[in-house]
Amino acid sequence: MDDEKENIQRQIVLPLRKALEISFKSLRIRFWRSIITTGGVILGIAFLMSIFTTDLVNKGLIEKGSAETSTLIQEEEEESSAQQIWLVSLSLLVCVVGITNAMLMSVTERYREIGTMKCLGALDTFIWKLFLLESFFQGLVGSFIGVVVGGGFVIMASLLRYGGQVIPAFPKLQFMGYALAALVIGVVISVIGAFFPASQAAKMVPAEAMRSEM
């Protein structure tokens, strides 16, 4: 008799669209908070993009710029290249830590909400989806802003320094490629950063989640 399960069924897995809807709403309503969380991504990606763009501007000018500018840049580049790789790696690392930290905070803050959702019938996978999606969107928006800010800043600075020759010399197609790469890196990092907090949230027993006082 103890094994009689006929009056119990299995919970259905919700379509991704539902998780999308809920995470989107949650982000929109916590807009300013989300922006602050996103700050880490913006900074990291802006930095990355500024280095990419500097590289492109320099390459373009070496090839197509005036002889004077070309030699100037070649001299400068020799010393900075290794250092730049180091800086980019560091900035990406800071990015991951920042996002994990922000997501952990967001999870801790919402223990009760997660517990409640589990009481109402949310599966662990749903909680996973919710947090990963939120992070995905934050990563996307943050990276986009970062690309615009980082790329824009360097282009402006180059224009001021080298004048109009920058524009014809600039490899625009390559720039688009780098921008896309930075965008993808930002999103991937955001999702990776959310992995640990999301798993923490998903595996929590509801009773435990509800106990946390706010």
Binding site: Q11, I29, E113, G115, G121, A122, V205, M210
Partner: protein, 247 residues
């Protein structure tokens, strides 16, 4: 087994031990109880007596250290994650002292969330959600966010949400604990009305004596044990004599 006598909740020697640092704390020391379909049960006891812990065990929100919990004669420990989620979604409705509404969602969205989890279409859940909010007297607050509602109104939303998927059991942990006297009374009579109208079993952990009037049976808990069980007839008698004394 005959339907009329079926226990909707049954526990057998349920024990729960919490390990705090190195010291084990026995919050439940062997709870045995049987609750029949349609009953209105109060679990009474002082703070720290183990009411919430028992609430969590009965609701499938936490696992006992020892003993068994049966919901509709199914051993909860035997269920996998999907079955447990289904149980929480369909069989049980939860009401908490702190309301626990999702702050970013409107009253209606809060009420329809369990229906979403149950896979109901948005049109159906919408109309049912509105219906339930009307039932608890909040027909005009459908689009309000929790923070735009009073405590009593928030708890009404929570009551409507608990009923979303027509559960067999509504579990309430100190549902009046954060409410003033009058609002608390309103919530209690609302629960009693739903218990009668919808024939839903109500199990409420509380130390609110206002609950005594409406309960069919009361389990008095002290220090992790059921101290005694009182039937409605006995309670009425007591309340009657109390009123008699006052007059």
């Amino acid at each position: 087994m005959p339907m009329t006598q079926q226990n909707v909740v049954r526990t057998r020697d349920v024990k729960k031990v919490f390990i705090l640092g190195k010291i084990p704390l026995e919050a439940l020391k062997g709870i045995n109880l049987e609750i029949k379909r349609g009953e209105y049960i109060s679990i009474m006891g002082p703070s720290g007596s183990g009411k919430s812990t028992l609430f969590n065990m009965i609701g499938g929100l936490d696992k006992p250290s020892e003993g068994k919990v049966y919901i509709d004669e199914v051993d909860v420990a035997q269920l996998d994650a999907y079955e447990l989620a289904w149980l929480r979604c369909r069989k049980i409705g939860y009401i908490f002292q702190t309301f626990n509404l999702i702050p970013v969602m409107t009253a209606l969205e809060n009420v329809t969330l369990p229906m979403v989890f149950a896979g109901m279409s948005s049109d159906d859940s919408r109309s049912k959600g509105v219906e339930l909010l009307e039932l608890v007297g909040l027909g005009d607050r459908v689009q309000h966010k929790p923070l735009e509602l009073s405590g009593g109104q928030q708890q009404r939303v929570a009551v409507a949400r608990a009923l979303a998927n027509d559960p067999a059991i509504v579990l309430a942990d100190e549902p009046t604990g954060n409410l003033d006297l009058k609002t608390g009374k309103e919530i209690i009579s609302l629960l009693r009305r739903l218990n009668k109208e919808k024939e839903v079993t109500i199990i409420s952990a509380t130390h609110d004596l206002k609950m005594l009037d409406v309960s069919d049976r009361i389990f008095w808990i002290r220090d992790g044990r059921v101290e005694r069980v009182e039937e409605r007839s006995e309670i009425k008698l007591e309340v009657g004599t109390m009123e008699g004394e006052e007059a």
